[in-house]
């Protein structure tokens, strides 16, 4: 019965989801009508490290600038409305558009067959090309093929990533933003970055340590993304773009940001190729293809969590011993460590360790940086668990040990810690299981673990539910045995069996 109940719960959740998404598609009028009624065009983009597309003005950080910002203003003006940017992580723009978070995507979205299968795309507004960026002191690497066997960076789910994956043979690192990959390039963690020319022009060209390598290649178009059913909106956008091209507004905007080149003359020659509708992919039915990929990510998650937890358990013990028993200045240090680590986000700690430490000459690879970051973060929490455990042991235990003549270390080693151990097993296990899930955060420092694999596969298949269920099942299969093991350990250490 229980089994049936759970199963039907999942099925009904899925049904509700399908029903709601179907209904909104059926009854929603064309978004163009809604935009005009609202008086606002909502455009989705990622302003984080988003120069020169859209980014906060360095002089006035509360204000956005960028060539796409100016383009959005011009487009909205043509439609007779105002433009408002909606911040969204770049590699999640398409799902967010389909969820209805905003009306259009205007953020360096390439006019590729893959994108045109998922959403409708306008005529192009910019011709980009790929550019290899290297350190000034590196020799060669002028062509894509030269990058084989080298550590190379690319922005997550870009054409650059796809080109490198198709070629194969490189040690490819995927970055969540543009700034991070160039930082790693300068920190000598990687030898080259392949990126869209506008990004390279903005970030890499002015940098004295970096230089362009070879000529731009693999040109392509940026287009505006809209939902497939919004045909009127698409038509209005195409028309507006044509006008902006003819009256040189586009050229003016691109010149303002130093992005105009002769390639832009080819914009008007664009002819869309016909793409077939995308077939819905059921990753659940094709699990033999997807599960191994997910499991490879899970292996990284396990390695990372186990090593980081080992570091946390040991460092936490040192911290608590220092905090409770060391001379006063050291005690304060241990306490300050715990408070600072607990009071700041793990994400920022990871960024500081991975991108900050190279500034003072400490260069950790992503795996090591992940272990150190997670481990030192959890150490603070473990030391608090231990402290609670140690302080739960009655004062009389210490007195009895002292009365026998034990010194402080003997008391701790033979009387206090063995009893505290049992008390702290449940909270430490809890942290270990939390670590499995928290470890997904290391994707920001280019680690590809289970959640990242899920994200990448979901983005290419659009089967968020099937992959999501598989991924959740893997996480559960990892954490449940951990809690069973802890149960058993706790029982085997129990001494008040009556």
């Amino acid at each position: 019965m229980i089994k049936f109940g759970r199963c039907s719960l999942v099925i009904s959740l899925v049904l509700i989801f399908l029903l709601v998404s179907g209904l909104t598609q059926l009854f929603a009028a064309d978004t163009l009508v809604e935009v005009q009624k609202r008086g606002e065009l909502l455009w989705g983009a990622d302003a984080e490290g988003g120069a020169p597309y859209v980014y906060p003005d360095p002089q006035k950080p509360e204000q956005l600038i960028g060539f796409e910002h100016d383009l959005a203003e011009a487009l909205a003006a043509r439609l007779g409305v105002k433009a408002r940017m909606v911040q969204n992580q770049w590699d999640q723009l398409i799902p967010a558009l389909e969820r209805g978070n905003f009306d259009i995507i205007l953020n360096g979205l390439e006019l590729t067959p893959e994108h045109r299968q998922q959403i409708a795309m306008s005529q192009p507004y910019y011709v980009y090309a790929e550019q290899i960026v290297k350190r000034k002191d590196t020799i060669g690497l002028a062509r894509l093929e030269d990058l084989k066997g080298k550590p190379v960076g690319a922005l997550s789910s870009t054409v650059a990533q796809r080109l490198l994956e198709q070629m194969g043979g490189t040690d490819l690192r995927i970055y969540p933003g543009n700034v991070e990959s160039l930082r790693d390039l300068k920190a000598r963690r990687i030898d080259a970055v392949v990126m869209d020319l506008p990004i390279a022009l903005h970030y890499a060209k002015p940098d004295p340590e970096l230089s362009f390598s070879g000529a731009p290649f693999a040109p392509g178009y940026y287009g505006i993304g809209v939902r497939k059913q919004d045909l009127q909106l698409l038509g209005a956008l195409d028309q507006a773009l044509s006008v902006l091209g003819r009256d040189k507004t586009l050229e003016r905007i691109y010149r303002k940001y130093g992005l105009w080149d002769e390639r832009q003359e080819t914009l008007k020659d664009y002819r869309p190729e016909v793409v077939s509708d995308r077939k819905p992919v059921s990753t659940l039915r094709e699990w033999p293809k997807y599960l191994p990929l997910l499991l490879r990510g899970a292996a990284v998650t396990v390695e990372l969590s186990v090593l980081a937890m080992a570091l946390a358990v040991v460092t936490g013990l040192v911290l608590v011993l220092v905090r409770l028993y060391a001379p006063v200045p050291l005690r304060w240090l241990a306490r300050a460590y715990v408070e600072v680590i607990r009071g700041t986000p793990l994400l920022i700690q990871l960024f500081l360790i991975y991108y900050g430490l190279p500034e003072i000459g400490i260069r950790l690879n992503p795996f090591l940086a992940g272990i150190v970051g997670l481990g030192l973060n959890y150490a603070a929490s473990e030391s608090e668990n231990y402290r609670a455990g140690i302080q739960s042991i009655p004062r009389g235990q210490t007195e009895a040990a002292q009365a026998l003549g034990m010194n402080r270390w003997q008391t701790l080693r033979h009387v206090i810690l063995p009893q505290a151990l049992r008390v702290v097993i449940p909270p430490v296990t809890n942290d270990f299981i939390a670590m499995f899930k928290d470890s997904s955060i290391v994707s920001v420092i280019t680690m590809v673990e289970l959640t990242k694999v899920y994200g990448m596969l979901a983005m290419s298949t659009y089967d968020y539910i099937g992959l999501g269920l598989m991924t959740a099942a893997i996480y559960f299969a990892l954490s449940y045995p951990a809690s069973l093991l802890a149960d058993r350990l706790e029982k085997s250490l129990s001494y008040d069996r009556r």
Partner: protein, 250 residues
């Protein structure tokens, strides 16, 4: 054997012991009585340095500790340990180590502090458990024993360090009346063996039977002392009379 001179102890501004002087012969059993809060437990805990006195001097056997004098830390700690090795302590709440078996509780002191071999310590431990009548419980855990049994294990644990003095801090107060006798019996046998003892207790009958001398504590001072028949039958001090009439009519 035991010499205490001018022992003073305060908690913040509250003076608990007002310069106690006490001398005790080897083999003498002394019982401390008095109302709660009179300082008798504090006095006992100062003797093995669980409380650090503010002033005064304590000598047990050949070891002397002078309180309140700035001393080199390491040497002071060593003196403290030497003193504790000579004084075994039994607590009101037993304070057995719950994660160790009865035998391991008894052998923990010799093995950890004196680095005695496992075999020697266990031989000694079994002998002492036999003495307190618990040789059949050596593999049990403290949680599986009654209060009276636990306190007997605690006595064996203290004896395992072969102390020169045994200090008892209300050893039967946490026990149900029917379990007290088994503990008192063990204590009586220790007196018969000639152990030097200081016992803080409310068991007047026990004091009357086994004490060589009774000390009546009142407000941080020894108000009266003498052989039990004298203190119990013919108390000299007004406060002693009041206290005895309260506890014996109960």
């Amino acid at each position: 054997m035991i010499v205490v001179e001018n022992l003073v102890k305060s908690y913040q501004s509250n003076r608990v012991l007002h310069g106690i002087d006490h001398m005790q012969q080897r083999g003498e059993a002394v019982v401390l009585i008095g109302p709660s809060g009179c300082g008798k437990s504090t006095f006992l805990r100062c003797l093995n340095q669980l409380e650090l006195p503010d002033a005064g001097r304590i000598t047990i056997g050949e070891v002397t500790i002078t309180a309140g004098q700035p001393a080199r830390i390491a040497e002071e700690k060593d003196q403290q340990r030497q003193l504790r090795l000579r004084a075994g302590m039994v607590f009101q709440s037993f304070n057995l180590f719950p994660h160790l078996t009865v035998l391991d509780n008894v052998t923990s002191g010799p093995r950890i502090v004196k680095a005695m071999s496992k075999e020697d310590a266990e031989t000694l431990g079994r002998e002492l458990l036999g003495k307190v009548g618990l040789d059949n419980k050596s593999e049990a855990y403290p949680g599986q024993l009654s209060g009276g049994q636990q306190q007997r294990v605690a006595i064996a644990r203290a004896l395992a360090m072969q102390p020169e003095v045994m200090l008892f801090d209300e050893p039967t107060s946490a026990l149900d009346p029917e379990l007290r006798e088994e503990v008192l019996k063990v204590m009586r046998s220790l007196v018969e063996d000639g152990m030097t003892m200081i016992v803080v207790t409310h068991e007047m009958q026990f004091a009357r039977e086994v004490a060589d001398r009774v000390l009546f504590f009142d407000a941080g001072r020894i108000a009266e002392q003498g052989p039990p028949e004298q203190v119990f039958s013919n108390p000299q001090h007004q406060r002693t009379r009041e206290f005895l009439s309260r506890v014996t009519t109960r």
